[in-house]
């Protein structure tokens, strides 16, 4: 197996809100292999989207990545920073978090790019779709000609440009060259008649088409890693099938790696090679698809799989997890396994923070059941926790 393209270690992201400190992501570690699709699955509030945003450095105040390392394999960068910041370099890997801010920003596009859940709100309604994709192309083009310039994005703005735009209203927002590339990208993601569609505004696109357009935008920088945050959640199943097919085709043809964030275990099953299951900000179980689906160890993973009605087999009764998704406010989080209050197999051992156990080289789990059998005599009284 080749080296992974991305190694995330102990990533911790907190939000400092007026209600208190929110531990959105707690010591999350995972690898994304070259050319694979790694999935993170979890319910709302599990921290899966925050993890994605942390990886591509898009966390905004009041949130902050407080700890952890994001090792990204890139020889050029590694050579460049080996001398100046040796801490940030390890072999071919660089720790993105320790690179200067401008360099981090320049990675967005050629290294990482992102597809969001809601295509409608991800496009500016007052610019044509083509212009917006071409703008992404332009940013990459400038960044390439002037590597890692922090000014790359701000060029072409400013007072002079404003005056010029006002005086010459016909002047295009982006160059023809970028526009041509935008049309090419739209064609690549399967939009019919891309020349005309590029001239249209987002509201003239259907949800599925707009999601394709957003993927085209994300492809503008030819990224190594595409982070897809619930890319099909807002879409109907027949359109979802189209988009998933498209993502798989792109991944195969472009050799990208995809970090796929979703709540839908079906999407995970169809798309992902390896999976991390998140609960309350932690990855509670991580491993190859077959291990997670066929031999889940963590009671949460088991519960999640037991909660889904099967479209091919109407079993008589679902086995849901009792209780509700926990609060992530620091002061309200127990010094115990976060799942203990909902866990059918909670034991006294669970009343302490649980480390991550390696089952074999590829499957790890954050649960004492990895080490011992469930013993009913040792069970804790879950009523202690019951809130309703």
């Amino acid at each position: 197996m080749a080296d992974p393209i991305l190694k995330v270690r102990d990533l911790t992201t907190r939000f400092f809100t007026e209600e208190g400190q929110v531990n959105a992501v707690e010591h999350v570690s995972f690898d994304v292999e070259d050319g694979e699709i790694f999935g993170i699955v979890g319910e709302s509030g599990s921290g899966k989207s925050v993890t994605a945003l942390s990886v591509i450095d898009l966390i905004e105040s009041p949130g902050r990545v407080t700890d952890g390392e994001i090792w990204y394999r890139n020889e050029t960068l590694a050579d460049e920073f080996r001398g100046s910041t040796p801490d940030a370099v390890d072999g071919d890997f660089v720790d993105v978090r320790r690179l200067p801010k401008g360099v981090r920003r320049s990675l967005r596009g050629p290294s990482f790019s992102m597809v969001f859940q809601d295509p409608m709100s991800s496009f500016n309604p007052s610019l044509t779709v083509g212009e917006q994709i071409a703008e992404a192309v332009e940013v990459q083009r400038r960044a390439r000609s002037n590597p890692r310039s922090t000014r790359s994005r701000t060029q072409g703005y400013g007072l002079g440009k404003l005056v010029a735009d006002t005086l010459l209203p016909s002047q295009r927002y982006v160059s023809d060259e970028s526009m041509d590339r935008a049309v090419e990208l739209l064609d690549q993601v399967g939009i019919p008649d891309p020349e005309d569609r590029a001239e249209e505004y987002p509201h003239q696109f259907s949800g599925g088409m707009l999601q394709r357009a957003m993927i085209a935008q994300a492809l503008a920088g030819e990224p190594d890693i595409l982070v897809a945050d619930e890319p099909t959640t807002a879409l109907d199943v027949t359109i979802q099938a189209q988009i998933l097919n498209l993502l798989r085709d792109l991944q195969e043809h472009e050799g990208m790696s995809i970090l796929m964030i979703t709540h839908d275990l079906g999407v995970i099953a169809r798309m992902c090679d390896r999976v991390g299951v998140m609960y309350a900000g932690e990855i509670v179980e991580r491993g190859p698809l077959s291990d997670i689906f066929d031999n889940p160890v963590h009671p949460y993973t088991q519960g999640l799989l037991g909660s889904i009605p099967d479209v091919d087999d109407p079993s008589t009764r679902l086995e849901p997890i009792s209780g509700n998704v926990p609060s992530l406010i620091d002061s309200e989080m127990p010094n115990a396994c976060y799942f203990a209050d909902r866990c059918p197999n909670a034991m006294n051992d669970c009343l302490t923070r649980i480390p991550e156990y390696e089952l074999d080289g590829r499957h790890s789990v954050r649960c004492v059941l990895a080490e011992r059998e469930y013993d009913p005599n040792d069970a804790i009284d879950t009523e202690v926790y019951a809130d309703d």
Partner: protein, 354 residues
């Protein structure tokens, strides 16, 4: 009605914003001035003293050159069969008796501003309430029923909006005349204020009634209800699509109940914010009407500005002081409006958590 959450938001925004604090201080100060006018006003607003006319405010003095008949030994000097005049320079100094000076009839400007606040605030509050009543009723009906009802009501509102408000107001006053209702001032009638004033040695003889300018209140309401209609229509349009409104109808609730119980309470925040700003707008409109002499009020900021106009070159303070009172009040109300808007932003409300 006010939830704990709302109170917390109000408090937080108040702590954060200096402007909100200033706004509240100004508004509370103006309200107190209006309510306690018979206690704090140095004189009766109508009390004239021609000897003291056009006395400047503290910190200023005036020099006036007058042509007077030349007198010598107590008799008029006549030369060539003509009365001889000479130039005489008269100095007028400020006194602490009239801190903001006096007007052309020697009335104390401070007292007039204090009593003028009553007129402004009465018109502001009653006018806004009436405007809100009409506007919210129209707006909620239009937004809730949509279709033809909406068409008719809101086109009517648009037509109202097309008239310049001042012109419309003047026309309405012209048609209806100046109805005024004197309301007894409880502090004066009950004898509390006179007793207080004689105890601390202030001149007594304060007016026994407050004049409620009825026509003006109705007119400003008729001119300004449109804003309430527009805002509450917008709110009703969006709230009627909320599922709890649909749920109420599914339960068999009547339209009246649905609107009063579900739509109005959830639309109240922007209406409240608008009302605060509208008080300021209506105070301005009242001042404009008074200035033009259409309101019939004889103690009013706008009226006093008009009175001072003829002395513009010699006694600027007669117009300027009530003008400043208007500016300060309007700014204060707008600051309070901003505070409410920022604190009660419905975006904050109803979110379950992070």
């Amino acid at each position: 009605m006010i939830s704990e959450r709302t109170r917390r938001n109000l408090r937080r925004e108040l702590q954060r914003s200096l402007l909100a604090k200033i706004g509240i201080v100004v508004v509370v100060f103006m309200l107190a001035m209006a309510i306690f006018a018979p206690f704090i006003s140095p004189y009766s607003p109508g009390q004239q003293n021609l000897e003291n006319a056009r006395q400047p405010p503290i910190g200023f003095s005036t020099k006036e050159t007058k042509e007077v008949t030349k007198m010598e030994n107590g008799s008029v000097v006549i030369e060539n069969g003509q009365v001889v005049t000479e130039e005489q320079t008269v100095y007028t100094n400020a006194t602490f008796a009239h801190p903001l000076g006096t007007d052309g009839n020697g009335r104390d400007i401070l007292s007039r501003i204090i009593y003028g606040a009553r007129t402004s605030i009465l018109v502001g509050l009653f006018g806004t309430s009436l405007a809100a009543l009409i506007g919210v009723l129209v707006g909620l009906s239009a937004g809730f029923y949509r279709g033809r009802v909406d068409d008719v009501l809101m086109r009517g509102a648009d037509i109202m909006l097309a008239f310049p408000s001042l012109v419309l107001a003047i026309a309405l006053v012209g048609v209806w005349g100046q109805a005024q209702a004197p309301i007894p001032d409880p502090f004066v009638v009950s004898g509390i204020a006179p007793a207080f004033r004689s105890a601390v040695g202030l001149p007594t003889g304060m007016p026994e009634t407050v004049v409620l300018p009825g026509t003006v209140i109705v007119v400003v309401a008729l001119v300004n209800w449109v804003w309430f209609a527009r805002v509450s229509r917008g709110e009703a349009l969006s709230i009627r699509e909320e599922e709890y409104v649909k749920a109420a109808r599914a339960l068999g609730a009547s339209d009246g109940r649905t609107v009063l119980r579900h739509v109005l309470p959830n639309a109240i925040t922007p209406i409240l914010v608008l009302a605060t700003i509208q008080v300021a707008a209506i105070i301005l409109l009242e001042s404009a009407l008074s200035f033009l002499g259409f309101s019939g009020a004889d103690v009013s900021w706008g009226f006093d500005i008009a009175l001072g106009r003829q002395y513009q070159s010699t006694a600027w303070w007669i117009s300027t002081m009530p003008g400043l009172a208007i500016v300060v009040t309007v700014i204060g109300l707008n600051l309070v409006g901003d505070w409410l808007r920022d604190a009660l932003d419905p975006g904050i409300e109803g979110e379950g958590g992070v």
